[in-house]
Symmetry: C3
Subunit: 321 residues, 3 copies
């Protein structure tokens, strides 16, 4: 540490792996043992944790934060700022003459930008990306390798697509003609508002007539399916392998566990929390926590799960009477 | 409307969004209120619905159809005809000299057509597609951006692959050698018959020896897994995230709900309907409706689901005796 | 057959499809009828099966093997040796000047190899693959069309990536700032050890700080999600559509059924077997077989599944008292 109380930190790492030039963080008390043995020069901790420490205990520098995990996120972002484009167009990128790219857009090798595409300042298109005709992409977006943005899709600012994400595939719409499933042309768009992130190999289908809309700040993990004309409210997060059927509307600030599925034409209220593998077949009330299939209040599901284990005992008693 | 009773329609849209130059449709009575307030110049309705209307009620033009949803599909197709190739080969497409493309095939930027590939009239290959050596693709197919057709795969006419679909990946086959899982070369093919559609990021594995076969008119939604040597009968439809294990045979005209899984080496009869999240572990009888895991008749599952909610009550009674 | 007892075999096929110049195998007694009627010149069978045969019965040549399925695998590999690179670089491949490729590496059309990539002897990169900056790839690997290897990922020798597999996508990590989900930069790597295979459109996320590690000989089927900082033990196999949440550690030699999901920060012991659709919410003991959600011992799940079908009977009895 310097004379003025400042010190230099060269990076951030976990308690177990930080070296003597790095800062670390304790966001989960189950890592307490690693706090004791860490080599980190400094550790971000909560006020509550700091107060539990014996003042005579030998610890490194402590940085007390209201939310150590958020503080970690901020320090991590400081050491690893997000890529921003600076106008590097790889010579093998194919950019249609009618596309309008801001001066600071990067486009990687073998990427294809089709006719009438608009791309804003600082957006980074990695290698092997396809942006189809008429798509609009905002500022400071990142499209990772192999992502596909289909025709007429609209991406706001600060949108991130992980590799293999498909935005604007056709929705699954057919009418039975009497002899075959007649495909219904899907002519709506996908709109991803500002700050949306879509995970690797996830799919967001275009609307059949109107649009499929993912509101600002929504985060979708990998391998998620969003069907046509779904609307997902702002800041909702979905874990991997969730599937949402057509025309379902999900509120703001929901948390949806992995492998959850939802039927079509439903309404899920704001702030709902769904456990993993939930199967939603009817509307869900705002602010509640659900689990199971069919979805039920989480506490009811917990109770039921315990009692299902007692079925042998129940059966035995029934049989003995 | 013109003097001869005809009128011009400039498009089709939902009841809520149609303008005064568009036609709309009422296929679900829950949208009745939107029917009342629509601005559409004309509305497609069922005969049954038309007969419920007060003859003095002020409504726009009515088009009475046996199946309004099918009529919508047909009008939608009229306004949005499917893309057909007309012989545009992007200069950056790589087409092997031994590949044989009909005169009207389109191939997009950066797509790769390898040796000995055959492609029929009117097929459209978008940007960033790979068609590997020896694959055969029929007429009027559409391969969206980033789709992959592996070596020796066979696609009939009017096949559609959404973006990121993988046709002909290796099946998951190994034999334990005593010290490792020895990979079994997968040398069969994938055959997609006429009119098959495969959703975004779905995978159809090649057979280990014989072929994996998807019969005519089958529609697969996004993120579906079809393992090696599966056969799917004509006109069967599968919703998103279904997984079918190796060598299972599914009949014709089945409807398979999202996130359903099937074990291997099973037979599912013609016309089966499976609820979402069904887990199939044994053969299923034709024409029946199933749900649950393990799969059971749908009515049994409904009853069981209701009674599971009564487990606390059952437990209380048992304990009180 | 030749005078010295040898004979020529031109290929291997199933009992039903083998012709008179091919060898076949009987690994599952349910195919006994096909053994009787096969046209194969020779059939690989188990010793136990051979001993059940009537010595006067007319059968073709028998090859007795300890494990006929393993023998099939070995013969199949003999007739279909794996592709090995021999130094063919397609003229449209983009290979950064700083990348170091062994002399025998193949790179397909439109593939992109970025700066500082290292690739070992005999590795085959198909068409449309992206290998990002700083990635290291071992010897004799096969990267199928459309696979993506993100920056700094490390692949050992004999690794296979099926089409659309994404290695090194960002993990799903955010901290709530009070007004948005703040993205936590994911700066760890993915390490795939020797002999790992990753299925089509599967995703392995990079670690947030440390690495996501898939140990030697692990086989992952299609559409699998491996979250950040997961570790999968050697020779574990996972069927399609499994999802593993962040920081979970899975032991060696596990067998994980399709559509299984695991919560984060768990430990699954060596040699565990999990039925399809298992939902794991707590640590699992080594060597045990589990099923259900929440995961329970398989025998308990079987019993419970049977008794759930008896709920109507239980309910009736309860009500009648």
């Amino acid at each position: 540490m310097h004379a003025d109380g400042s010190c230099e930190i060269e990076g951030i790492n976990t308690l177990a792996h930080a070296d003597a030039n790095q800062i670390s963080f304790l966001a989960n008390n189950k890592y307490h043992q690693q706090f004791v043995s860490t080599k980190a020069k400094a550790v971000i901790v909560s006020k509550a944790f700091a107060e539990t420490l014996d003042p005579h205990q030998q610890v490194g520098l402590l940085v007390v934060a209201y939310d150590p995990y958020l503080a970690f996120a901020k320090v991590q972002r400081l050491f690893h700022p997000q890529d921003v484009g600076c106008g590097i167009l790889h010579p093998t990128a194919i950019i249609d003459a009618s596309a309008q790219l801001a001066d600071t857009v990067d486009v990687g090798a073998k990427s294809v930008i089709e006719a009438d595409v608009l791309i804003g300042e600082g957006t980074v298109i990695a290698a092997g990306v396809v942006v189809e005709a008429g798509a609009k992409i905002g500022k400071r977006c990142i499209l990772h390798a192999g992502a596909v943005v289909s025709t007429m899709s609209v991406l706001g600012n600060d949108v991130i697509l992980q590799s293999g994400a498909v935005i604007g595939s056709d929705g699954f719409g057919y009418a039975w003609s009497g002899s075959e499933h007649l495909k219904i042309p899907q002519v709506g768009r996908v709109i991803l508002e500002d700050g949306v992130e879509v995970g690797a190999n996830s799919c967001v289908d275009r609307g059949v007539l109107g649009d499929t809309i993912i509101r600002r700040g929504v985060k979708l993990d990998n391998l998620i399916q969003i069907a046509h004309n779904v609307e997902v409210g702002a800041f909702t997060v979905m874990a991997s392998q969730v599937g949402i059927s057509g025309s379902t509307t999900i509120g703001q600030g929901c948390q949806i566990g992995g492998q959850t599925g939802m039927a079509g034409h439903l309404k899920v209220g704001d702030g709902c929390k769904l456990a993993a593998k939930t199967g939603v077949t009817s509307d869900l009330e705002a602010g509640k926590t659900y689990a199971g299939f069919p979805a039920m209040p989480h506490h009811a599901w917990l109770k039921m799960s315990v009692l299902m284990m007692k079925l042998p005992e129940i059966w035995k008693k029934i049989k003995s009477k």
